[in-house]
Amino acid sequence: MLSAGAGGGVAVERAVPVSRRATLLSTRLVARDTWWQEFDCPDIAAAARPGQFVMLGVGLGAPGAWLLPRPFSVGWTGSGGEVGILLRAYGQGTRALAKLEAGQTALLLGPLGRPFDTEGAEVECIAGGVGLAPFIFLAAREAAAGRRVRLIYGERDAGAVFDPGLIARLTEHDPELFTEDGSAGRKGLVTAGLDPASNALLLGCGPTPLLRALEAFAREHGRGLQVSVEEHMGCGIGTCQGCVVRGADGRWVKSCIEGSVFPAEELDWGAI
């Protein structure tokens, strides 16, 4: 079941989302407040493409508990039907989801959103924090197809860095690591890793200041850029209009179906 998606101007084909109660196969603390969770969810694993996300929640049954699902990038898919999520505990919801234990189930809705559109292009991925997740997926896919991407990954400090061994195992790539305090990798912001001489397509995922810096860089150097934006979401499937960001044409665009990945030129950067 592939459709062109309900979003306007969406080029890449994507699967129709499904809702599945999935068992958490394993969960592992991989950095400070950060977990790598693998769910048993073959339908989503088979259909997901890098840049897409899932809405992850506990459902309605849990006594006393109320939690709206939260969006998470698909961080990896396994050949056994696994869906990997890189989850950083932050507020109420992510703290609750981080407590899920192997053997428990959760509700996954996905795959959702517009994937990165990298067809044939040489690619540089710039990740801030858990913005690394979609690039693990992308790099793993590329590696499986015998291709390589450049992977630049920044965190505040060494304690926040996602286990490099696991990244290497999942992606067959070694990310170029930056930390703000220099406690791991090179010292500095991840943008220091950008190569003005390259012509590769830039893909960005992370905090807004990072996306802004990438946009400025891409504009200055005439480089193609796609970014994944984060906005609060209700439904994740385009019905509630809760997730809008300002488009370049001034209209509100739904980041759950017209994004969350956008070519930089589709967005109003004054409003991001």
Binding site: M1, A6, V16, P17, V18, S19, G57, G59, L60, W66, L67, L68, P69, Q92, G93, L107, L109, E231, H232, M233, G234, C235, G236, I237, G238, T239, C240, Q241, G242, C243, V244, V245, R251, W252
Partner: protein
């Protein structure tokens, strides 16, 4: 009910199912009772700045700002899908306006079209004349309902706002003015403050609170409306499961709508539908109508002061 067959008493609530299309991929729409569209206004509306949604304790807050493609956009882009894809599910079009003229223009503009059963009139919005909400102003509400009654013979359902001293008064007004049914309830005004940033979390500052948090308020409003009028009632607010839905039914609702719960589990409406069927079967109840409003008094119950 409303001169039509409902395959189930469970519908999807306005604003939480778009115009049906996205949910059609996720649940068998023709097996539940149907859906209420996102609000349709005369002109397209751009909606509010983000954030538009956030979680609250036991619920959520939204301030979409009634973003919609307008009457013409709805007819051109949304109605055809509903007409062509739904066989048994019933559709109500949620209508919104800033003046009685606006509302009337939408109803009149839609009335000749196919693909829907009737209207759900969203009166939780400010009346540009006078400044109050239609749904909290007895006079404005009576005039609006009477006027819309003149525009259509289709089922005309008024969606009550809970922000009034007594929902029962407003239910009666709707009945007297010629409405065919009521929906109870819309959201409660609320605000979430981002303490770290010292600003409202929601782009338009305040929004509407929905979800389980408002379940007892919705059941109460349904019961009050049932005390004061004979109109069929669609019970809405916080329904997660069949038991929640049956609270509304026993309090007086003949149909129920599922809103926020669909965000937590897109299958919620189907589960409620199946759970109600199971309950009827297990209790030897032939038709759900036999449960509508049959709340018994508790032994020893007398007139009482509800609060405190």
């Amino acid at each position: 009910m409303f001169g039509a067959e409902f395959p189930s008493p469970v519908l999807l609530a306005s604003g939480t199912c778009g115009y049906g299309q996205e949910y059609a991929d996720l649940i068998p729409l023709d097996e539940i009772g149907g859906l209420v569209t996102k609000a349709v206004s005369l002109e397209p509306r751009p909606g509010n700045p983000p954030h538009r949604v956030a979680e609250t304790p036991g619920g959520m807050i939204n301030a979409i700002g009634l973003e919609n493609p307008g009457l013409r956009g709805f007819i051109a882009e949304k109605l055809p899908w509903l007409r062509e894809h739904l066989r048994r599910a019933q559709v109500f079009v949620n209508v919104v306006g800033h003046s009685a003229e606006d509302f009337a223009a939408v109803v009149s503009g839609l009335d000749g079209e196919d693909g829907f059963l009737g209207y759900e009139i969203n009166v939780s919005c400010p009346n540009v004349k006078g400044g109050t909400m239609f749904g909290t102003d007895e006079r404005a509400l009576a005039d609006l309902v009477a006027r819309l009654r003149g525009c259509t013979e289709r089922p005309l359902v008024i969606k009550l706002t809970p922000n009034v001293p007594d929902v029962g008064d407003f239910a009666r007004i709707c009945e007297e003015a010629g409405a065919d049914g009521l929906s109870a309830i819309n959201t409660f005004p609320g605000m979430v403050v981002d303490v770290a940033r010292r600003e409202p979390l929601i782009g338009s500052r305040s929004g509407g609170v929905s979800g389980p948090a408002i379940l007892p308020m919705g059941v109460y409003a349904t019961w009050r409306a049932r005390q004061t009028c004979e109109l069929p009632i669609m019970g809405i607010g916080g329904i997660r499961n069949a038991e929640d839905a049956l609270q509304y039914v026993l309090a007086g609702a003949c149909l129920v709508q599922i809103g926020t719960a669909s965000f937590v589990d897109p299958g919620a409406a189907v589960a409620v539908h199946e759970g109600i069927s199971d309950h009827l079967r297990a209790n030897g109840v032939a038709r759900i109508e036999d449960l509508v409003g049959v709340l018994r008094a508790r032994p020893g119950t007398g007139p009482a002061i509800p609060a405190g």
